[in-house]
Protein backbone atom coordinates (compact mmCIF):
# COMPACT_ATOMS: atom_id res chain seq x y z
CA UNK A 1 0.00 0.00 0.00
CA UNK A 2 2.95 2.29 0.73
CA UNK A 3 3.76 2.62 -2.95
CA UNK A 4 0.28 3.88 -3.75
CA UNK A 5 0.41 6.48 -0.98
CA UNK A 6 3.84 7.50 -2.25
CA UNK A 7 2.31 8.03 -5.70
CA UNK A 8 -0.15 10.55 -4.26
CA UNK A 9 2.82 12.44 -2.80
CA UNK A 10 4.64 12.37 -6.15
CA UNK A 11 1.56 13.80 -7.83
CA UNK A 12 1.50 16.60 -5.29
CA UNK A 13 5.09 17.41 -6.18
CA UNK A 14 4.25 17.37 -9.87
CA UNK A 15 1.34 19.78 -9.35
CA UNK A 16 3.65 22.09 -7.42
CA UNK A 17 6.18 21.95 -10.25
CA UNK A 18 3.78 23.74 -12.55
CA UNK A 19 2.53 26.84 -10.80
CA UNK A 20 1.16 28.54 -13.91
CA UNK A 21 -1.35 25.73 -14.39
CA UNK A 22 -2.46 26.24 -10.83
CA UNK A 23 -3.03 29.97 -11.16
CA UNK A 24 -4.74 29.78 -14.53
CA UNK A 25 -7.01 27.05 -13.13
CA UNK A 26 -8.23 29.40 -10.39
CA UNK A 27 -8.98 32.06 -12.98
CA UNK A 28 -10.91 29.71 -15.29
CA UNK A 29 -13.03 28.32 -12.48
CA UNK A 30 -13.87 31.80 -11.13
CA UNK A 31 -14.94 32.97 -14.59
CA UNK A 32 -17.16 29.90 -15.01
CA UNK A 33 -18.83 30.28 -11.65
CA UNK A 34 -19.37 34.01 -12.24
CA UNK A 35 -20.83 33.46 -15.72
CA UNK A 36 -23.30 30.82 -14.52
CA UNK A 37 -24.22 32.90 -11.51
CA UNK A 38 -25.33 35.82 -13.67
CA UNK A 39 -26.94 33.53 -16.24
CA UNK A 40 -29.12 31.79 -13.65
CA UNK A 41 -30.00 35.04 -11.93
CA UNK A 42 -31.24 36.36 -15.28
CA UNK A 43 -33.25 33.16 -15.89
CA UNK A 44 -34.84 33.26 -12.46
CA UNK A 45 -35.69 36.94 -12.72
CA UNK A 46 -38.34 37.49 -10.05
CA UNK A 47 -39.55 33.87 -10.06
CA UNK A 48 -39.32 32.30 -6.61
CA UNK A 49 -38.39 28.79 -7.73
CA UNK A 50 -38.00 26.63 -10.82
CA UNK A 51 -38.39 22.81 -10.68
CA UNK A 52 -38.42 23.01 -6.91
CA UNK A 53 -35.14 24.92 -6.62
CA UNK A 54 -34.89 28.50 -5.39
CA UNK A 55 -32.49 30.98 -7.00
CA UNK A 56 -30.24 30.79 -3.93
CA UNK A 57 -30.18 27.01 -4.08
CA UNK A 58 -29.36 27.22 -7.78
CA UNK A 59 -26.38 29.55 -7.37
CA UNK A 60 -25.12 27.41 -4.49
CA UNK A 61 -25.60 24.36 -6.72
CA UNK A 62 -23.54 25.91 -9.51
CA UNK A 63 -20.69 27.03 -7.24
CA UNK A 64 -20.46 23.73 -5.41
CA UNK A 65 -20.71 21.77 -8.67
CA UNK A 66 -17.69 23.60 -10.07
CA UNK A 67 -15.72 23.31 -6.84
CA UNK A 68 -16.48 19.59 -6.69
CA UNK A 69 -15.35 19.32 -10.30
CA UNK A 70 -11.93 20.57 -9.25
CA UNK A 71 -11.69 17.46 -7.08
CA UNK A 72 -13.01 14.74 -9.38
CA UNK A 73 -11.82 16.13 -12.70
CA UNK A 74 -8.46 15.02 -14.08
CA UNK A 75 -6.75 14.34 -17.37
CA UNK A 76 -5.72 10.79 -16.59
CA UNK A 77 -7.45 9.55 -19.77
CA UNK A 78 -5.30 11.90 -21.81
CA UNK A 79 -2.20 10.77 -19.94
CA UNK A 80 -2.96 7.11 -20.52
CA UNK A 81 -3.61 7.80 -24.21
CA UNK A 82 -0.31 9.63 -24.46
CA UNK A 83 1.64 6.94 -22.65
CA UNK A 84 0.20 4.35 -24.99
CA UNK A 85 0.88 6.41 -28.10
CA UNK A 86 4.47 7.16 -27.12
CA UNK A 87 5.07 3.59 -26.05
CA UNK A 88 5.80 4.68 -22.48
CA UNK A 89 3.28 2.17 -21.21
CA UNK A 90 6.00 -0.46 -21.71
CA UNK A 91 7.85 1.02 -18.74
CA UNK A 92 4.71 0.68 -16.64
CA UNK A 93 4.48 -3.03 -17.40
CA UNK A 94 7.89 -3.73 -15.93
CA UNK A 95 6.86 -2.29 -12.58
CA UNK A 96 5.47 -4.50 -9.86
CA UNK A 97 2.24 -2.62 -9.45
CA UNK A 98 -1.20 -2.39 -10.93
CA UNK A 99 -1.07 0.28 -13.61
CA UNK A 100 -4.74 1.25 -13.36
CA UNK A 101 -4.61 1.51 -9.59
CA UNK A 102 -1.48 3.63 -9.86
CA UNK A 103 -3.23 5.94 -12.30
CA UNK A 104 -6.21 6.18 -9.95
CA UNK A 105 -3.85 7.20 -7.15
CA UNK A 106 -2.30 9.87 -9.34
CA UNK A 107 -5.79 11.19 -10.02
CA UNK A 108 -6.50 11.15 -6.32
CA UNK A 109 -3.29 13.02 -5.58
CA UNK A 110 -4.28 15.64 -8.11
CA UNK A 111 -7.79 15.81 -6.65
CA UNK A 112 -6.63 16.22 -3.07
CA UNK A 113 -4.19 18.91 -4.14
CA UNK A 114 -6.88 20.90 -5.92
CA UNK A 115 -9.44 20.34 -3.16
CA UNK A 116 -7.16 21.74 -0.48
CA UNK A 117 -5.30 24.49 -2.37
CA UNK A 118 -7.97 25.46 -4.81
CA UNK A 119 -11.56 24.49 -3.98
CA UNK A 120 -11.59 25.37 -0.30
CA UNK A 121 -9.87 28.78 -0.63
CA UNK A 122 -11.83 29.39 -3.84
CA UNK A 123 -15.10 28.71 -2.05
CA UNK A 124 -14.24 31.24 0.65
CA UNK A 125 -13.60 33.89 -2.01
CA UNK A 126 -16.83 33.02 -3.86
CA UNK A 127 -18.78 33.30 -0.60
CA UNK A 128 -17.76 36.93 -0.24
CA UNK A 129 -18.86 37.79 -3.77
CA UNK A 130 -22.09 35.83 -4.24
CA UNK A 131 -24.69 34.81 -1.68
CA UNK A 132 -24.44 31.06 -1.15
CA UNK A 133 -26.42 28.88 1.22
CA UNK A 134 -24.27 26.58 3.34
CA UNK A 135 -25.87 23.86 5.34
CA UNK A 136 -25.22 23.85 9.07
CA UNK A 137 -26.21 20.19 9.36
CA UNK A 138 -23.07 18.02 9.88
CA UNK A 139 -24.91 15.01 8.38
CA UNK A 140 -25.24 16.88 5.08
CA UNK A 141 -21.53 17.60 5.02
CA UNK A 142 -20.72 13.98 5.80
CA UNK A 143 -23.01 12.67 3.07
CA UNK A 144 -21.60 15.24 0.67
CA UNK A 145 -18.05 14.07 1.41
CA UNK A 146 -19.12 10.46 0.86
CA UNK A 147 -20.89 11.31 -2.41
CA UNK A 148 -17.81 13.22 -3.55
CA UNK A 149 -15.60 10.14 -3.09
CA UNK A 150 -17.95 8.10 -5.25
CA UNK A 151 -18.20 10.82 -7.87
CA UNK A 152 -14.40 10.78 -8.06
CA UNK A 153 -14.45 7.01 -8.51
CA UNK A 154 -17.10 7.03 -11.26
CA UNK A 155 -15.34 9.80 -13.16
CA UNK A 156 -12.02 8.01 -12.73
CA UNK A 157 -13.43 4.76 -14.03
CA UNK A 158 -14.86 6.48 -17.10
CA UNK A 159 -11.45 8.09 -17.64
CA UNK A 160 -9.69 4.75 -17.36
CA UNK A 161 -12.14 3.26 -19.82
CA UNK A 162 -11.55 6.02 -22.39
CA UNK A 163 -7.83 5.79 -21.80
CA UNK A 164 -7.68 2.04 -22.31
CA UNK A 165 -9.62 2.38 -25.57
CA UNK A 166 -6.48 3.97 -27.02
CA UNK A 167 -5.02 0.46 -27.13
CA UNK A 168 -7.64 -0.36 -29.73
CA UNK A 169 -7.94 2.91 -31.65
CA UNK A 170 -4.29 4.11 -31.36
CA UNK A 171 -5.48 7.71 -31.57
CA UNK A 172 -8.63 8.57 -29.69
CA UNK A 173 -8.31 12.28 -28.93
CA UNK A 174 -11.75 12.76 -30.50
CA UNK A 175 -13.32 10.26 -28.13
CA UNK A 176 -11.62 11.90 -25.16
CA UNK A 177 -12.98 15.31 -26.13
CA UNK A 178 -16.47 13.94 -26.72
CA UNK A 179 -16.38 12.25 -23.33
CA UNK A 180 -15.52 15.52 -21.65
CA UNK A 181 -18.49 17.33 -23.20
CA UNK A 182 -20.85 14.43 -22.44
CA UNK A 183 -19.74 14.38 -18.80
CA UNK A 184 -20.06 18.15 -18.36
CA UNK A 185 -23.59 18.06 -19.80
CA UNK A 186 -25.04 14.78 -18.51
CA UNK A 187 -23.42 14.87 -15.09
CA UNK A 188 -25.52 17.87 -14.14
CA UNK A 189 -22.60 20.30 -13.99
CA UNK A 190 -24.12 22.79 -16.44
CA UNK A 191 -27.76 22.06 -15.72
CA UNK A 192 -29.34 20.06 -12.89
CA UNK A 193 -30.79 16.77 -14.14
CA UNK A 194 -34.25 17.75 -12.85
CA UNK A 195 -34.28 20.52 -15.50
CA UNK A 196 -34.04 18.05 -18.38
CA UNK A 197 -37.28 16.91 -20.10
CA UNK A 198 -38.89 13.84 -18.53
CA UNK A 199 -37.88 11.37 -21.25
CA UNK A 200 -34.25 12.53 -21.08
CA UNK A 201 -34.27 12.10 -17.29
CA UNK A 202 -35.52 8.53 -17.73
CA UNK A 203 -32.65 7.74 -20.12
CA UNK A 204 -30.13 9.31 -17.78
CA UNK A 205 -31.34 7.16 -14.92
CA UNK A 206 -29.69 4.30 -16.79
CA UNK A 207 -26.38 6.13 -17.27
CA UNK A 208 -23.66 6.69 -14.67
CA UNK A 209 -23.06 10.38 -15.42
CA UNK A 210 -25.40 11.99 -12.88
CA UNK A 211 -23.46 10.21 -10.14
CA UNK A 212 -20.51 12.48 -10.94
CA UNK A 213 -21.84 15.97 -10.31
CA UNK A 214 -25.62 16.02 -9.82
CA UNK A 215 -25.72 13.75 -6.76
CA UNK A 216 -23.08 15.50 -4.58
CA UNK A 217 -24.34 18.98 -5.54
CA UNK A 218 -27.96 18.11 -4.78
CA UNK A 219 -26.92 16.65 -1.43
CA UNK A 220 -24.90 19.74 -0.60
CA UNK A 221 -27.71 22.17 -1.39
CA UNK A 222 -30.15 19.94 0.51
CA UNK A 223 -32.36 19.71 -2.57
CA UNK A 224 -32.67 15.98 -2.01
CA UNK A 225 -34.72 14.99 0.98
CA UNK A 226 -35.03 11.84 3.10
CA UNK A 227 -34.76 8.59 1.16
CA UNK A 228 -33.75 10.46 -2.03
CA UNK A 229 -30.30 11.00 -0.50
CA UNK A 230 -29.80 7.32 0.32
CA UNK A 231 -31.05 6.27 -3.12
CA UNK A 232 -28.71 8.73 -4.81
CA UNK A 233 -25.66 7.41 -2.93
CA UNK A 234 -26.71 3.83 -3.64
CA UNK A 235 -27.01 4.77 -7.31
CA UNK A 236 -23.35 5.85 -7.19
CA UNK A 237 -22.19 2.69 -5.41
CA UNK A 238 -23.94 0.47 -7.94
CA UNK A 239 -22.31 2.28 -10.83
CA UNK A 240 -18.84 2.07 -9.25
CA UNK A 241 -19.32 -1.71 -9.01
CA UNK A 242 -20.76 -2.08 -12.52
CA UNK A 243 -17.94 -0.09 -14.15
CA UNK A 244 -15.25 -2.36 -12.70
CA UNK A 245 -16.32 -5.09 -15.10
CA UNK A 246 -15.76 -3.46 -18.53
CA UNK A 247 -12.47 -1.94 -17.31
CA UNK A 248 -11.07 -5.29 -16.23
CA UNK A 249 -12.22 -7.02 -19.42
CA UNK A 250 -10.83 -4.35 -21.74
CA UNK A 251 -7.60 -4.24 -19.75
CA UNK A 252 -7.06 -7.98 -20.10
CA UNK A 253 -7.75 -7.87 -23.85
CA UNK A 254 -5.52 -4.84 -24.25
CA UNK A 255 -2.63 -6.51 -22.44
CA UNK A 256 -3.00 -9.58 -24.64
CA UNK A 257 -2.74 -7.72 -27.89
CA UNK A 258 -0.52 -4.91 -26.74
CA UNK A 259 1.62 -3.42 -29.43
CA UNK A 260 4.21 -1.04 -28.12
CA UNK A 261 4.41 1.77 -30.58
CA UNK A 262 7.67 3.31 -31.59
CA UNK A 263 10.23 0.52 -31.47
Amino acid sequence: MGKYIEMIRIRFLMMLAYRTNYYSGILIYSINIGAYYFLWNAIYGDKGSIEGMSALQMTSYISIAWMARAFYFNNIDREIAQEIKEGKVAIEFIRPYNYLLMKTMQGLGEGIFRLSFFSVPGMVVVMFIFPIAFSTNPATWLLFALALVFSFLINMQINLLTGILTFFFYNNMGLIRAKRVVIDLFSGLLLPISFFPGWAQKIMDFLPFQGISYVPSMIFTESFSGSEVINAVLFQVVWVLILILPIQILWLIARKQLVVQGG
Binding site: G2, K3, E6, L13, A17, F93, I94, K256
Partner: protein, 338 residues
Protein backbone atom coordinates in the same frame (compact mmCIF):
# COMPACT_ATOMS: atom_id res chain seq x y z
CA UNK B 1 25.48 -23.37 -13.57
CA UNK B 2 21.78 -22.75 -13.76
CA UNK B 3 20.15 -20.98 -16.66
CA UNK B 4 18.88 -17.47 -16.04
CA UNK B 5 17.08 -17.16 -19.34
CA UNK B 6 15.69 -20.05 -21.32
CA UNK B 7 13.98 -19.40 -24.62
CA UNK B 8 12.54 -22.14 -26.79
CA UNK B 9 11.08 -21.69 -30.27
CA UNK B 10 9.99 -18.20 -29.41
CA UNK B 11 7.88 -16.52 -32.05
CA UNK B 12 6.09 -13.20 -32.31
CA UNK B 13 3.92 -12.25 -35.24
CA UNK B 14 2.53 -8.81 -35.92
CA UNK B 15 -0.45 -8.10 -38.08
CA UNK B 16 0.29 -5.15 -40.25
CA UNK B 17 -2.02 -3.62 -42.77
CA UNK B 18 -0.74 -2.44 -46.08
CA UNK B 19 -2.39 0.69 -47.43
CA UNK B 20 -3.60 0.63 -51.00
CA UNK B 21 -2.22 3.38 -53.20
CA UNK B 22 -4.07 6.44 -54.41
CA UNK B 23 -7.31 8.11 -53.39
CA UNK B 24 -9.40 5.21 -54.64
CA UNK B 25 -7.29 2.85 -52.61
CA UNK B 26 -7.71 5.01 -49.50
CA UNK B 27 -11.50 4.79 -49.86
CA UNK B 28 -11.32 1.04 -50.28
CA UNK B 29 -9.16 0.89 -47.15
CA UNK B 30 -12.05 2.44 -45.23
CA UNK B 31 -14.14 -0.65 -45.86
CA UNK B 32 -11.72 -3.53 -46.00
CA UNK B 33 -8.07 -3.62 -45.21
CA UNK B 34 -5.33 -5.89 -46.41
CA UNK B 35 -3.60 -7.58 -43.53
CA UNK B 36 -0.25 -9.24 -43.64
CA UNK B 37 1.15 -11.37 -40.88
CA UNK B 38 4.81 -10.55 -40.35
CA UNK B 39 6.96 -12.59 -37.96
CA UNK B 40 9.20 -10.15 -36.08
CA UNK B 41 10.80 -12.95 -34.09
CA UNK B 42 10.98 -16.25 -35.88
CA UNK B 43 11.32 -19.36 -33.69
CA UNK B 44 14.45 -18.45 -31.77
CA UNK B 45 15.99 -20.56 -28.99
CA UNK B 46 18.85 -19.71 -26.67
CA UNK B 47 19.77 -19.72 -23.03
CA UNK B 48 21.82 -17.49 -20.78
CA UNK B 49 23.57 -18.66 -17.64
CA UNK B 50 23.55 -16.81 -14.34
CA UNK B 51 26.28 -14.20 -14.22
CA UNK B 52 26.84 -14.09 -17.96
CA UNK B 53 27.02 -10.83 -19.87
CA UNK B 54 25.61 -11.39 -23.32
CA UNK B 55 25.56 -9.00 -26.25
CA UNK B 56 22.40 -9.16 -28.27
CA UNK B 57 22.99 -7.58 -31.63
CA UNK B 58 21.31 -7.11 -34.95
CA UNK B 59 20.37 -4.45 -37.45
CA UNK B 60 17.40 -2.17 -36.96
CA UNK B 61 14.25 -4.23 -37.22
CA UNK B 62 16.04 -7.55 -36.70
CA UNK B 63 13.75 -8.37 -33.77
CA UNK B 64 15.96 -7.39 -30.84
CA UNK B 65 13.55 -5.08 -29.11
CA UNK B 66 10.62 -7.38 -29.73
CA UNK B 67 12.39 -10.32 -28.14
CA UNK B 68 13.53 -8.18 -25.20
CA UNK B 69 9.93 -7.11 -24.70
CA UNK B 70 8.84 -10.73 -24.57
CA UNK B 71 11.63 -11.56 -22.13
CA UNK B 72 10.51 -8.75 -19.85
CA UNK B 73 6.85 -9.72 -20.05
CA UNK B 74 5.70 -6.61 -21.91
CA UNK B 75 4.62 -8.55 -24.99
CA UNK B 76 2.95 -11.93 -25.15
CA UNK B 77 4.67 -14.42 -27.46
CA UNK B 78 2.65 -15.82 -30.37
CA UNK B 79 4.15 -19.23 -29.63
CA UNK B 80 7.09 -20.80 -27.83
CA UNK B 81 8.18 -20.70 -24.22
CA UNK B 82 10.14 -18.22 -22.17
CA UNK B 83 11.47 -18.95 -18.68
CA UNK B 84 13.36 -16.14 -17.07
CA UNK B 85 14.71 -16.63 -13.56
CA UNK B 86 12.48 -19.71 -13.31
CA UNK B 87 9.29 -17.75 -14.02
CA UNK B 88 6.98 -17.10 -16.91
CA UNK B 89 7.39 -13.32 -17.47
CA UNK B 90 3.85 -12.80 -18.67
CA UNK B 91 1.85 -15.01 -16.34
CA UNK B 92 3.64 -14.16 -13.09
CA UNK B 93 4.22 -10.55 -14.00
CA UNK B 94 4.24 -8.80 -10.63
CA UNK B 95 6.46 -11.40 -9.01
CA UNK B 96 8.71 -11.60 -12.06
CA UNK B 97 9.38 -7.89 -12.61
CA UNK B 98 10.76 -7.62 -9.08
CA UNK B 99 13.68 -9.77 -10.20
CA UNK B 100 14.67 -7.71 -13.23
CA UNK B 101 15.98 -4.26 -13.98
CA UNK B 102 15.47 -2.65 -17.37
CA UNK B 103 17.01 0.35 -19.06
CA UNK B 104 15.57 1.52 -22.34
CA UNK B 105 18.02 4.00 -23.81
CA UNK B 106 15.30 5.75 -25.74
CA UNK B 107 12.69 6.08 -23.02
CA UNK B 108 12.98 7.53 -19.58
CA UNK B 109 11.60 5.67 -16.62
CA UNK B 110 12.14 8.51 -14.21
CA UNK B 111 9.41 11.04 -13.58
CA UNK B 112 10.14 13.96 -15.81
CA UNK B 113 9.05 16.91 -13.67
CA UNK B 114 10.33 15.94 -10.25
CA UNK B 115 13.75 15.60 -8.67
CA UNK B 116 15.68 12.39 -9.26
CA UNK B 117 15.68 11.52 -5.57
CA UNK B 118 11.87 11.62 -5.50
CA UNK B 119 11.78 9.05 -8.31
CA UNK B 120 14.23 6.93 -6.34
CA UNK B 121 12.09 7.24 -3.24
CA UNK B 122 9.01 6.10 -5.10
CA UNK B 123 10.85 3.15 -6.66
CA UNK B 124 12.19 2.19 -3.25
CA UNK B 125 8.60 1.98 -2.01
CA UNK B 126 7.45 0.19 -5.17
CA UNK B 127 10.09 -2.50 -4.79
CA UNK B 128 9.80 -2.65 -1.00
CA UNK B 129 13.50 -2.13 -0.42
CA UNK B 130 14.29 -1.92 3.31
CA UNK B 131 16.07 1.23 4.48
CA UNK B 132 19.36 -0.35 5.53
CA UNK B 133 19.73 -2.39 2.33
CA UNK B 134 18.84 0.65 0.27
CA UNK B 135 21.33 2.88 2.01
CA UNK B 136 24.28 0.52 1.65
CA UNK B 137 23.55 -0.48 -1.93
CA UNK B 138 22.43 2.87 -3.30
CA UNK B 139 25.17 4.90 -1.66
CA UNK B 140 27.60 2.68 -3.48
CA UNK B 141 25.73 2.97 -6.80
CA UNK B 142 25.40 6.73 -6.49
CA UNK B 143 29.10 7.05 -5.74
CA UNK B 144 30.23 4.77 -8.57
CA UNK B 145 28.05 6.53 -11.12
CA UNK B 146 28.93 9.90 -9.65
CA UNK B 147 25.34 11.15 -9.58
CA UNK B 148 25.27 12.56 -6.04
CA UNK B 149 25.09 16.21 -7.17
CA UNK B 150 22.24 15.43 -9.59
CA UNK B 151 19.81 13.96 -7.10
CA UNK B 152 17.94 17.16 -6.27
CA UNK B 153 17.51 18.27 -9.89
CA UNK B 154 14.38 17.58 -11.91
CA UNK B 155 14.98 15.04 -14.66
CA UNK B 156 14.10 17.47 -17.44
CA UNK B 157 17.08 19.65 -16.49
CA UNK B 158 19.63 16.83 -16.81
CA UNK B 159 21.83 16.27 -19.84
CA UNK B 160 21.51 12.97 -21.66
CA UNK B 161 24.63 11.53 -20.06
CA UNK B 162 23.52 12.59 -16.59
CA UNK B 163 20.04 11.21 -17.16
CA UNK B 164 21.35 7.90 -18.45
CA UNK B 165 23.46 7.39 -15.33
CA UNK B 166 20.41 8.11 -13.20
CA UNK B 167 18.33 5.68 -15.26
CA UNK B 168 20.90 3.00 -14.65
CA UNK B 169 20.87 3.68 -10.93
CA UNK B 170 17.06 3.51 -10.94
CA UNK B 171 17.11 0.17 -12.74
CA UNK B 172 19.52 -1.24 -10.17
CA UNK B 173 17.80 0.22 -7.13
CA UNK B 174 16.34 -3.13 -6.05
CA UNK B 175 19.57 -4.92 -6.97
CA UNK B 176 17.99 -7.31 -9.49
CA UNK B 177 19.82 -10.51 -10.48
CA UNK B 178 19.03 -9.83 -14.13
CA UNK B 179 19.51 -6.62 -16.05
CA UNK B 180 18.20 -5.82 -19.54
CA UNK B 181 19.90 -2.95 -21.28
CA UNK B 182 18.39 -1.78 -24.53
CA UNK B 183 20.86 0.59 -26.16
CA UNK B 184 22.00 2.17 -22.90
CA UNK B 185 24.84 4.15 -24.44
CA UNK B 186 22.97 5.63 -27.39
CA UNK B 187 24.13 9.20 -27.96
CA UNK B 188 26.55 9.30 -25.05
CA UNK B 189 30.08 10.67 -25.07
CA UNK B 190 33.13 8.50 -24.55
CA UNK B 191 33.69 9.37 -20.90
CA UNK B 192 30.14 8.54 -19.86
CA UNK B 193 30.27 5.33 -21.88
CA UNK B 194 33.44 4.27 -20.13
CA UNK B 195 31.95 5.05 -16.74
CA UNK B 196 28.83 3.03 -17.48
CA UNK B 197 30.86 0.07 -18.78
CA UNK B 198 33.09 0.09 -15.75
CA UNK B 199 30.08 0.24 -13.48
CA UNK B 200 28.37 -2.69 -15.21
CA UNK B 201 31.51 -4.79 -14.92
CA UNK B 202 31.70 -4.00 -11.25
CA UNK B 203 28.06 -4.95 -10.64
CA UNK B 204 28.60 -8.17 -12.51
CA UNK B 205 31.65 -9.02 -10.45
CA UNK B 206 30.14 -8.00 -7.14
CA UNK B 207 26.60 -9.40 -7.36
CA UNK B 208 26.99 -11.86 -10.24
CA UNK B 209 24.34 -9.86 -12.10
CA UNK B 210 23.31 -11.34 -15.43
CA UNK B 211 23.27 -8.75 -18.19
CA UNK B 212 21.62 -8.88 -21.59
CA UNK B 213 22.80 -5.94 -23.65
CA UNK B 214 21.57 -4.73 -27.01
CA UNK B 215 23.47 -1.99 -28.71
CA UNK B 216 24.62 -0.72 -32.07
CA UNK B 217 27.90 0.31 -30.56
CA UNK B 218 30.05 -2.77 -30.89
CA UNK B 219 32.77 -1.33 -28.70
CA UNK B 220 30.31 -1.74 -25.80
CA UNK B 221 29.99 -5.40 -26.62
CA UNK B 222 33.73 -5.83 -26.98
CA UNK B 223 34.31 -4.18 -23.64
CA UNK B 224 31.66 -6.10 -21.73
CA UNK B 225 30.55 -9.34 -23.33
CA UNK B 226 32.28 -12.58 -23.99
CA UNK B 227 29.34 -14.01 -25.81
CA UNK B 228 27.17 -12.55 -28.54
CA UNK B 229 23.83 -13.57 -29.99
CA UNK B 230 23.31 -12.15 -33.43
CA UNK B 231 19.88 -11.71 -34.97
CA UNK B 232 18.84 -11.15 -38.53
CA UNK B 233 15.26 -10.97 -39.76
CA UNK B 234 13.97 -12.53 -36.59
CA UNK B 235 16.37 -15.46 -36.61
CA UNK B 236 19.55 -16.16 -34.68
CA UNK B 237 22.41 -16.30 -37.14
CA UNK B 238 25.24 -16.55 -34.66
CA UNK B 239 25.40 -17.54 -31.02
CA UNK B 240 28.81 -18.00 -29.50
CA UNK B 241 32.03 -16.46 -28.22
CA UNK B 242 32.99 -13.05 -29.46
CA UNK B 243 36.60 -14.20 -29.75
CA UNK B 244 35.75 -17.10 -32.03
CA UNK B 245 33.86 -14.68 -34.23
CA UNK B 246 37.14 -12.91 -34.79
CA UNK B 247 39.17 -16.04 -35.34
CA UNK B 248 36.65 -17.52 -37.76
CA UNK B 249 35.86 -14.51 -39.84
CA UNK B 250 38.53 -12.01 -39.00
CA UNK B 251 41.61 -13.92 -40.02
CA UNK B 252 42.78 -11.45 -42.63
CA UNK B 253 44.60 -8.16 -42.44
CA UNK B 254 44.03 -5.01 -44.39
CA UNK B 255 46.96 -3.16 -45.88
CA UNK B 256 46.15 0.39 -46.79
CA UNK B 257 48.32 2.06 -49.40
CA UNK B 258 48.29 5.72 -50.23
CA UNK B 259 49.79 6.18 -53.66
CA UNK B 260 51.70 9.21 -54.85
CA UNK B 261 50.14 8.79 -58.26
CA UNK B 262 46.40 9.51 -58.28
CA UNK B 263 45.93 7.71 -61.58
CA UNK B 264 46.22 4.26 -60.00
CA UNK B 265 43.21 2.09 -60.79
CA UNK B 266 42.00 -1.25 -59.58
CA UNK B 267 42.75 -2.57 -63.02
CA UNK B 268 46.41 -1.61 -62.88
CA UNK B 269 46.80 -2.96 -59.33
CA UNK B 270 45.09 -6.26 -59.90
CA UNK B 271 48.03 -8.15 -61.47
CA UNK B 272 50.16 -7.46 -58.36
CA UNK B 273 47.99 -9.74 -56.27
CA UNK B 274 47.83 -12.55 -58.78
CA UNK B 275 47.76 -16.08 -57.23
CA UNK B 276 47.88 -14.56 -53.69
CA UNK B 277 44.20 -14.94 -52.76
CA UNK B 278 43.74 -11.27 -51.96
CA UNK B 279 41.51 -8.49 -53.22
CA UNK B 280 41.58 -4.72 -53.60
CA UNK B 281 38.93 -2.46 -52.24
CA UNK B 282 38.88 1.31 -52.72
CA UNK B 283 39.84 3.43 -49.73
CA UNK B 284 38.23 6.64 -48.58
CA UNK B 285 40.24 8.77 -51.00
CA UNK B 286 40.94 8.50 -54.68
CA UNK B 287 44.55 7.44 -54.34
CA UNK B 288 44.00 5.11 -51.38
CA UNK B 289 43.53 1.40 -51.99
CA UNK B 290 43.21 -1.40 -49.49
CA UNK B 291 44.51 -4.90 -50.04
CA UNK B 292 42.61 -7.55 -48.08
CA UNK B 293 45.04 -10.37 -47.46
CA UNK B 294 45.45 -13.47 -45.34
CA UNK B 295 47.14 -13.05 -42.01
CA UNK B 296 50.32 -14.83 -43.01
CA UNK B 297 53.80 -13.37 -42.90
CA UNK B 298 54.93 -14.25 -46.38
CA UNK B 299 51.71 -12.97 -47.98
CA UNK B 300 51.88 -9.66 -46.21
CA UNK B 301 55.54 -9.13 -47.05
CA UNK B 302 55.02 -10.28 -50.60
CA UNK B 303 52.13 -7.86 -51.22
CA UNK B 304 53.97 -4.92 -49.68
CA UNK B 305 57.11 -5.77 -51.61
CA UNK B 306 55.36 -6.03 -54.95
CA UNK B 307 53.30 -2.88 -54.54
CA UNK B 308 56.21 -0.76 -53.33
CA UNK B 309 58.35 -2.01 -56.20
CA UNK B 310 55.72 -1.10 -58.78
CA UNK B 311 54.35 2.20 -57.46
CA UNK B 312 55.48 5.14 -55.37
CA UNK B 313 53.58 5.35 -52.11
CA UNK B 314 53.23 8.13 -49.55
CA UNK B 315 51.69 6.16 -46.70
CA UNK B 316 51.16 2.58 -45.56
CA UNK B 317 49.00 1.18 -42.78
CA UNK B 318 48.28 -2.37 -41.67
CA UNK B 319 44.94 -2.96 -39.90
CA UNK B 320 43.42 -5.89 -38.19
CA UNK B 321 39.83 -6.41 -39.37
CA UNK B 322 37.54 -4.87 -36.80
CA UNK B 323 34.56 -6.60 -35.21
CA UNK B 324 32.40 -4.09 -37.00
CA UNK B 325 33.76 -5.20 -40.37
CA UNK B 326 33.30 -8.82 -39.47
CA UNK B 327 29.70 -8.28 -38.51
CA UNK B 328 29.04 -6.23 -41.60
CA UNK B 329 30.50 -9.03 -43.67
CA UNK B 330 28.30 -11.57 -41.95
CA UNK B 331 25.20 -9.52 -42.62
CA UNK B 332 26.15 -8.85 -46.20
CA UNK B 333 27.34 -12.28 -47.15
CA UNK B 334 25.58 -14.55 -44.74
CA UNK B 335 27.09 -16.88 -42.21
CA UNK B 336 27.90 -19.65 -44.71
CA UNK B 337 30.77 -17.76 -46.31
CA UNK B 338 32.80 -18.01 -43.12
Amino acid sequence: MENMIEVKELRKEFKSHSSRSGLKGAFRDLLTRNYKVVPAVNDISFSVKRGEMVGYIGENGAGKSTSIKMLTGILTPTSGTVRVNGMDPHKEREQFVRSIGVVFGQRSQLWWDIAVQESFRLLKKVYNVPDDVYNVHMNHVIESLDIGPLLDKPVRKLSLGQRMRCELAAALLHNPPLLFLDEPTIGLDVLVKLKIREFLKEMNAKYNTTVLLTTHDLSDIEALCERVVMLDEGKIIYDGQLSSLRSNWGEGKQIEFQFADTAVTKHSLQPLLAELDAAWTPGNRQNVWIANVLNEEHVISEVIGRVVAAHKITDLKVHEISIEDIIRNIYEEGITNG
